[in-house]
């Protein structure tokens, strides 16, 4: 638990601050040090096949991956919570219809849809946000709907209604604050999923564009050179694995703690 927390803090701080102190930027080519070994030519972790500093690229890749993941998870939180809360609160036919929409979207082969979007509209980081967020909200909507339905029957919600509170006030003051904890736990669980999806899309060459990079692209490029420069695969891969594990374990701990 503590390890997971510190891992996340360390990775985020490093991705945010370290690029400012590094002598190399992520897109700067060191013509003298193409495919430099670690510690050679002033590159701590060496350079890639066109002479760019691996550490700088990993840090910027982590930034991009975390940004995409965070933004997509927030999109999921926003759409999912709104959709689920409305369905759970209104109930009846509206709930039926709204949840069938969710079921239908679940049934779509999501990767295929995202790839299709990329092919039709071209590669763009915004599209990656939208595509991933638009799919990840489905689980959030189901979780929130279930919570809202359970809360709706609680006497304190009935008491608020008897106290003359309008529906909006009940939702905002009683229902959402009591859903927030669970939603936050699932948000934390969504982030690593999105990290994986983004990395996968980038690995396929459908994510962000050069010279920008993400952990997925770095792993992809590193995999091509793994026999000569194993660090190019191991460093971004290690950061990715550590991030996903830490976020997942933190999210699960939070979820279990809330379910007590």
């Amino acid at each position: 638990m503590r390890v997971a927390g510190w891992t996340i803090i360390a990775v985020v701080l490093a991705a945010l601050l370290l690029p400012f102190v590094l002598p190399w930027s992520y897109d700067q080519i060191d013509w003298d040090g193409v495919r430099a070994a670690p510690l050679a030519h002033g590159h701590l972790l060496g350079t890639d096949s066109v002479g760019r500093d691996l550490l700088a690229r990993t840090l910027i890749g982590t930034r991009i991956t975390l940004t995409v993941a965070g933004a997509a998870a927030l999109v999921a939180l926003l759409i999912g919570t709104t959709w689920g809360a409305i369905a759970g609160w209104v109930g009846g036919r509206v709930d039926e219809a709204m949840m069938r929409v969710v079921d239908a979207l679940y049934a779509l082969p999501f990767m295929f849809v995202v790839i299709l979007l990329m092919v039709v509209f071209g590669r763009s980081i915004v599209l990656v946000f939208l595509g991933i967020g638009a799919v990840e909200w489905l689980t959030m909507a189901r979780v929130v709907r279930g919570q809202v339905m359970a809360l709706r029957q609680r006497p304190f919600v009935l008491a608020a209604e008897a106290a003359g509170a309008p529906h909006r006030a009940i939702l905002l003051r009683h229902v959402l604050p009591n859903v927030a904890g669970v939603a936050l736990a699932y948000l934390l669980l969504t982030v690593p999923q999105v990290v994986m999806v983004e990395s996968f899309l980038s690995f396929l060459g459908l994510g962000v564009q050069e010279p920008l990079t993400s952990l997925g692209i770095l792993v992809h490029d590193g995999a091509e050179d793994m026999d000569v420069a194993p660090l190019a695969l191991l460093v971004p891969g290690g950061v990715l694995v550590a991030l996903v594990l830490a976020l997942t374990s933190l999210g699960e701990r939070l979820r279990d703690w809330l379910a007590r």
């Binding site: 006497p155 304190f156 608020a160 008897a162 003359g164």
Partner: protein
């Protein structure tokens, strides 16, 4: 001969001594009851010697010629197996995916006994008064009612043939209707020579079935003796308080405040629910109920669980579904639930059964209490709301010290007082009390009833009381309406209903209170099948 003898038992958790010097005996074929309010140490006294609850024991507890105090868990296990145990929550104690017969077989074989055949299993279920035992063996737990499940658990607890049965609050999670019947089933097991140790907070209920009573308070024995003696000539204040706490059906008629003009009139209320299944149709929960309630008047709607009384109250209060009928408030018809405006809500407030679920866990007490003011009296500032909230907290005997606590730090009785304060803060004319005392300990419930009586007198409140306990209804209410299967089958003055009930439903409720004859003695119920 004694089966189980406890002498000078002490139980301590860490440095805190929770039970001291408790002594009692259980004889074969007899029932001893440990009675006390919550926190009196009654469960600890019964379970700790068997290693079933936390705490280090001292003193002596002899069972089946073994000294239990000081034994290790491994040594306790074979001895514990010679006793049977029944706990409070029948709804969660059976494994949902196994048929009753399978679970009974497991229980019977737990000690390496022979595999019982079908007839033997059916006989076990029959012994605890379960109807159609053969068929029940093939039923899953969800097919059985709460009362039936508790009977199955009792049967399972004695399936391996123990000589002592310990029942810890065996009826507290059940409907009042069923409590007496389950106690009766338990007490009947004595006839086969089984010794019984019962633990309960409900003195009146236990007293009708036990031979000896041990009254506990604060981890000490307050009084012990033969059941009849303790009930008729209580020697300690604790016992007297426990006896006084439960309302009697035949106390002198209470003096109730005078009533005024018609306040609320309900006519032909209909509420239906969708039946389970994908084309289930609708089931009527309330089917054409009508009544009139005057200012300052208290009306009780009594009935067994599932009779539709809560649904009716929520339909009237416009906090639940209502499919048909009209509700008139001071001569003006109330709009449907979604169209209720502030001025409609201001007149009536509700208090619910589960006090802790009634308060938003994230809000402080003062915030919860002030909530109706925020919406019903919007001209008040936040500071004024807080002042009013603290005033009403004082009226329910809590005071400003509670204002900034959260529900997690409140006891059940305190939380219910907060819920009552919230209902009163905007000075309503009508209070809907939906089983407001039935989730509480006997003593706490008694104090809440006293509070309600005082508020009724001082504030001129009209009360719509929903309860399954007809004695509570009589104590607080001018009139009683008896509900059965969604209809009001009988209504009239409380005295008339209690002394001369006409309908079968009213008679059953009076019988369930165990006080039908009015002489305070126990009168067994006729054998009844519990649906």
């Amino acid at each position: 001969m004694t089966l189980y003898a406890v002498e000078r038992l002490g139980v301590a958790i860490g440095d805190i001594s929770l039970v001291h010097d408790v002594s009692f005996v259980v004889e074969p074929g007899r029932c001893t009851a440990l009675v006390g309010a919550s926190g009196s140490g009654k469960s600890l006294s019964s379970l700790a010697p068997f290693g079933l609850s936390a705490g280090a024991t001292s003193g002596s507890a002899r069972f089946a010629s073994h000294e239990l105090v000081g034994l290790s868990e491994a040594d306790l296990r074979p001895i514990r197996a010679r006793a049977g145990f029944v706990f409070q929550h029948p709804l969660t104690a059976l494994t949902p995916h196994l048929k009753i017969g399978v679970q009974m077989t497991e229980a019977a074989m737990a000690l390496g006994g022979p595999r019982p055949d079908r007839a033997a299993l059916a006989a076990m279920l029959d012994r605890v008064g379960l109807s159609k035992p053969e068929a029940k063996l093939y039923a899953y737990p969800h097919r059985l009612s709460g009362g039936e499940r508790q009977r199955v658990l009792i049967a399972a607890a004695i399936a391996h043939g123990p000589s002592l049965l310990i029942a810890d609050e065996p009826t507290s999670a059940l409907d009042a209707h069923l409590r007496d019947a389950i106690m009766e089933a338990l007490a009947r097991l004595r006839d086969d020579g089984l010794g019984l140790l019962m633990v309960s907070h409900d003195l009146a209920l236990v007293a009708r079935h036990a031979d000896r009573i041990v009254v506990l308070e604060g981890g000490k024995v307050a009084e012990s003796g033969i059941a009849d003696d303790v009930m008729t000539r209580p020697a300690s204040d604790t016992t007297r308080a426990l006896i006084a706490a439960c309302p009697k059906l035949h106390d002198p008629a209470p003096v109730l405040p005078a009533t005024g003009r018609t306040l609320i009139e309900a006519h032909g209320i209909q509420v239906g629910f969708r039946a389970p299944g994908w084309r289930g149709g609708r089931v009527a929960a309330v089917d054409g109920a009508s009544f009139v309630l005057a200012e300052g008047e208290a009306l009780a709607i009594v009935g067994a669980s599932g009779s539709g009384k809560s649904t009716l109250a929520r339909a009237i209060g416009r906090i639940g579904p209502c499919d048909g009928g009209t509700v008139t408030w001071r001569g003006e018809e109330l709009p449907p639930r979604r169209a209720m405006r502030r001025e409609h809500r201001a007149g009536m407030q509700a208090v619910f059964q589960d006090p802790l679920a009634s308060l938003d866990p994230q809000w402080t007490v003062a915030q919860s209490v002030a909530e109706p003011l925020r919406h019903l009296v919007p001209e008040l500032t936040a500071a004024e709301r807080r002042v009013r909230a603290i005033e009403v907290l004082e009226a329910v005997e809590l005071g400003a010290a509670f204002a900034d606590r959260r529900p997690a730090g409140l006891s059940g009785g305190q939380a219910q007082r907060v819920a009552i304060a919230r209902a009163l803060v905007a000075s309503p004319d009508l209070l809907i009390l939906d089983e407001a005392t039935s989730a509480l300990d006997v003593l706490v419930a008694g104090r809440i009833l006293e509070l309600l009586e005082r508020l009724q007198r001082t504030r001129g409140l009209a009360i719509l009381l929903i309860t399954h306990d007809i004695a509570v209804a009589r104590r607080l209410c001018h009139r009683i309406a008896v509900m059965e299967e969604g209809r009001i089958v009988e209504a009239g003055r409380s005295e008339t209903i209690v002394t001369a009930p006409q309908s079968a439903a009213a008679k059953a409720l009076i019988a369930a209170s165990g006080q039908a004859k009015g002489d305070g003695a126990y009168h067994p119920l006729p054998p009844m099948t519990i649906a």
